[in-house]
Assembly symmetry: C2
Homo-oligomer: 140 residues x 2
C-alpha cells in the first residue's frame, strides 16, 4: 500500500497509510461558526433540550441551519438525539461524553473570541484602511 | 439606542448595544479548516516563512486558498506579512503575539482531532448505516 505524507496539526509531516489525514477530516467538524455556539448552549443546559428551545437560545440561527448543524454533530457522535413517540413527536438533544469533551475546547475558543474581539476589530479597520490606500495588484 | 440580545459562547444571553455580537463575529475566523493548519505550521516554524515553503508544508492547499487564508489572518492581526523589495519580491509570514495566543487553542483542537479521529470515524459509519436502514422523511 502506498503511504502518503500527512500533515499533523502539530506541524509535523507523518507518513500515513490513509489516503486522507483523519485529523484534518475532523477539523472540518469545527469549520462552522455554529458548532461552538451549539455545543456551548448544550453544555450550559447540562441535559436534554428540545429543538425549539435550543433554536430560541441561538438567537439568529435558521431552522435549516440548526437542523443541519445538529445532524452533523449527531453523525460525529458529539450529540445524542432522542425522539419520543408523542403526537407531535418530542425531539431532544444533549451532548455525548465526546461532545462534552470537545465542548471544553470550543468554550476556550469562545472565551478567547470574547477577550480579543475589540483587538481583532481594530486590526480589521486598520487593514482595510491600508488596503484602500495602497491596493496590491498581485498578492502572494 | 436599542439593545439586542447577544448570545455569548458561555451560553449566557447578554444585552448588547452592538448590532452584532463581537465574539460570534470572531468565531467565524476559526470557521475554516485551514486556519488551525496554517497557524500550526507557522507556530512550528517559530519565525518567518516564505509563501511557497508554507504552501509546500500544507500539502494539499491551493495557492488561491492559502492566499485567502493568509489575507484573512493578516486582516485579523494574527499573522504579520513582510514584503522585501527584491526581484522577485520576497514575501514572508509569521505569527503575531495574538496569533501565537490563538495558536495554543488551535493546537489543542488539532490534538483533540488526532486523538478522537477513529472514534468519530466509527460514529459516522454507524450513523450512515442507520440512516440508510431507517430514513426519516422530516427531521427536527
Amino acid at each position: 500500500m502506498d503511504t502518503v505524507s500527512c500533515w499533523e496539526p502539530s506541524g509535523n509531516l507523518v507518513e500515513s497509510y490513509l489516503r486522507r489525514c483523519p485529523a484534518r477530516d475532523v477539523l472540518t467538524v469545527l469549520a462552522d461558526k455554529w458548532v461552538p455556539l451549539v455545543l456551548g448552549t448544550l453544555r450550559n443546559e447540562g441535559g436534554p433540550i428540545r429543538f425549539n428551545e435550543l433554536r430560541r437560545r441561538l438567537d439568529g440561527i435558521t431552522q435549516k441551519m440548526l437542523t443541519r448543524t445538529l445532524r452533523n454533530l449527531e453523525r460525529d457522535g458529539l450529540v445524542r438525539r432522542t425522539v419520543y413517540p408523542t403526537v407531535p413527536p418530542r425531539v431532544e438533544y444533549e451532548l455525548t461524553g465526546l461532545g462534552a469533551d470537545l465542548g471544553v475546547i470550543t468554550h476556550a475558543m469562545g472565551q478567547w473570541a470574547l477577550r480579543h474581539a475589540d483587538e481583532i476589530g481594530a486590526a480589521r479597520i486598520e487593514f482595510d484602511e491600508r488596503a484602500a490606500r495602497d491596493p496590491e495588484p498581485v498578492r502572494l
